[in-house]
Amino acid sequence: MRNALTLGVIGAMALGTLGLVGCGSSTTGTTTGSSTSGALTVAGSDTMVNMAQAWADTYTKDNPGVSIAVKGGGSGTGIAALINGTVDFADASREMKPEEIAQAQAKGIKPVATKVARDGVAIVVNPANKVENLTLDQLGKIYLGTITNWKDVGGADAPITLVSRDPSSGTYEFMTSKALKGGKFAGSAKLLGSTQAVVDEVKADPNAIGYIGVGYESSAVKVIGVDGIKASTATVKDESYPLWRFLNMYSNGEPTGVAKAYVDWILSPAGQKVVTDQGFVTLN
């Protein structure tokens, strides 16, 4: 390489690409425009993603000046995106953890939760399974790996196959805190990426147990009771079902402008009607 110009071009390219190594800065929020026009980005919970898309579709039909982009990826993904400053709303089927709130504040984000619906986490087994009910304690022990055979909880003599969501899922974190009381899922638990994958696996394996949001119940799998109570709109609304929870939308500070109009609409009867249509439970 005798040519100084050649060296110069290569050097500039190298410096440029190595400079990108240090890159990865976050962008600020993306809400723009007045109340009836603008763009919003929503990301997070896979449990909520269909409902979030339905909300977005219905709202933008009546408010054509607004465009709303909805993505899934799990509650953890949405919260991480909120902390990184890349979304307006993080859909979360759980609450933010203290560590996440600390991380957010360290980056100058002030997370504010708006409850938008209620949900119950239904425990499902294969239709061939004779078990009808589990106590919350038994459920926890099953997923911790302490109880490993169906015969210990009133079923057939067969090993229990654990089916779970993966750690980015809010439902996974909710089960960790509510059912496992902060413990850890057994190593043999299959960590699947979506509710549909959980349903497919429980449908195919006679000894499987899994957990899904009530909005995803189907005839392919059998829902069992927890502590004697089956998940239904009534038992979730009066909070008697042990695995009930709020579905949240987190934003950076109180929502303003387009974001506020959108959230107000979601909490209105029109938005809550979408909640019922999707199989979830309204707030009130």
Binding site: T6, I10, Q103, S168, A189, K190, L191, E201, A204
Partner: protein, 324 residues
């Protein structure tokens, strides 16, 4: 003093010292030389860009993996030997040995199927097939390599997985075996294509000599051609292995995702690529979990780099061997 007025003043046809007029910078020679210098610099830059990008990727991985490797909270180098991966627990644990074993299990199954089938197919195409079949199969194999991996993933979840589940009476369709079988479909085109090229490169003299000495075509193939093409075949296996190790979508959808440290092929698995793909979305930039995922990325990078380097060195040796 030579004058170039009567001649064409473009520089094609001569490498150095193309023109002999003693013009200054503003003359035709000066401009032509300037153009050549710029063009040389630009194409040299393009030539080097791959190396620059690869170095930048390696640097990016190392820089982002360093916080986890140097932190005692994450376990540093013990991450490669720990068997508990609970990144969202308090306190978090970051041992990913089970995932290394998962990658090996799944790749092992893929190669166990793809290597014999691939080499046999390459032998057939190179030594026995007619010209029309050769052309036809080459296109089909290239097409197989071009099918998107998510399509293979769908096939795995809805076709291959259930078929294996029924065939071996397994409780689940999502196992290391199912994922390995689908990965073998993906490694096969690479192995066939490069092995066939290696066999084709063996000089015809060897074939003719072998046949002349009384070997049948099959004996020639396995006694003479395959050993002669050995380096190229080895390289193809290394590249097929690289493909299987790096595959993400298929193992994410088909392998089942368990953390257990086991060598069983009928149990589920969670290869390194699947861990990164399923968890990268939920990490906060700069956090410990983020850095731990980069350590996994760096591990994958090193393994694939080593496999490709081995393949390249062996191929180079083969090229030198036949260059008499």
């Amino acid at each position: 003093m030579l004058v170039s007025v009567g001649m064409s003043s473009d520089v094609s046809g001569a490498m150095d010292e193309p023109l002999r007029d003693r013009g200054g910078r503003a003359s035709r020679t000066g401009r032509a030389r300037a153009v050549e210098a710029v063009v040389k610099a630009a194409i040299a830059g393009s030539g080097w860009i791959a190396i620059v990008i690869l170095t930048a990727i390696a640097a990016f991985l190392a820089v982002n993996a360093w916080p986890a490797l140097s932190s005692s909270a994450a376990g540093g180098w013990k991450m490669l030997t720990g068997s508990l991966w609970y990144p969202t627990a308090s306190p978090p644990e970051f041992g990913f040995l089970p995932y290394i074993v998962s990658t090996l299990r799944v790749t092992g199954v893929a190669l166990a199927i793809a290597v014999p089938v691939g080499i046999a197919a390459a032998v057939f195409i190179s030594e026995f097939a007619g010209r029309r079949f050769k052309e036809f199969s080459k296109s089909v194999i290239e097409f197989m390599a071009a099918v998107p991996s998510v399509v293979y993933g769908l096939m795995g979840v809805y076709v291959v997985g259930p078929a294996i589940k029924d065939l071996f009476h397994l409780p689940s369709a999502l196992t290391a075996l199912s994922a390995g079988v689908v990965l073998s479909f993906m490694a096969l085109p690479t192995i066939i294509s490069i092995s066939e090229d290696a066999m084709h490169a063996v000089p015809n003299d060897l074939r003719m000599g072998s046949l002349a000495l009384g070997n049948t075509r099959w004996q020639t193939a396995y006694k003479v051609i395959v050993p002669a093409a050995g380096s190229g075949i080895f390289a193809s296996v290394m590249l097929g292995m690289g493909r299987a190790i790096g595959e993400t979508m298929v193992v994410l959808m088909v392998a089942g995702g368990t953390m257990d440290l086991t060598w069983s092929l009928t149990a589920s698995a969670r290869p390194l690529t699947a861990v990164i793909a399923s968890e990268m979305g939920e990490v906060v930039q700069g956090g410990l979990h983020y850095s731990a995922l980069f350590v996994i990325g760096l591990t994958l990078f090193v393994i694939t780099f080593a496999a490709n380097l081995a393949a390249d060195l062996v191929l180079e040796r083969q090229r030198k061997r036949w260059r008499r």
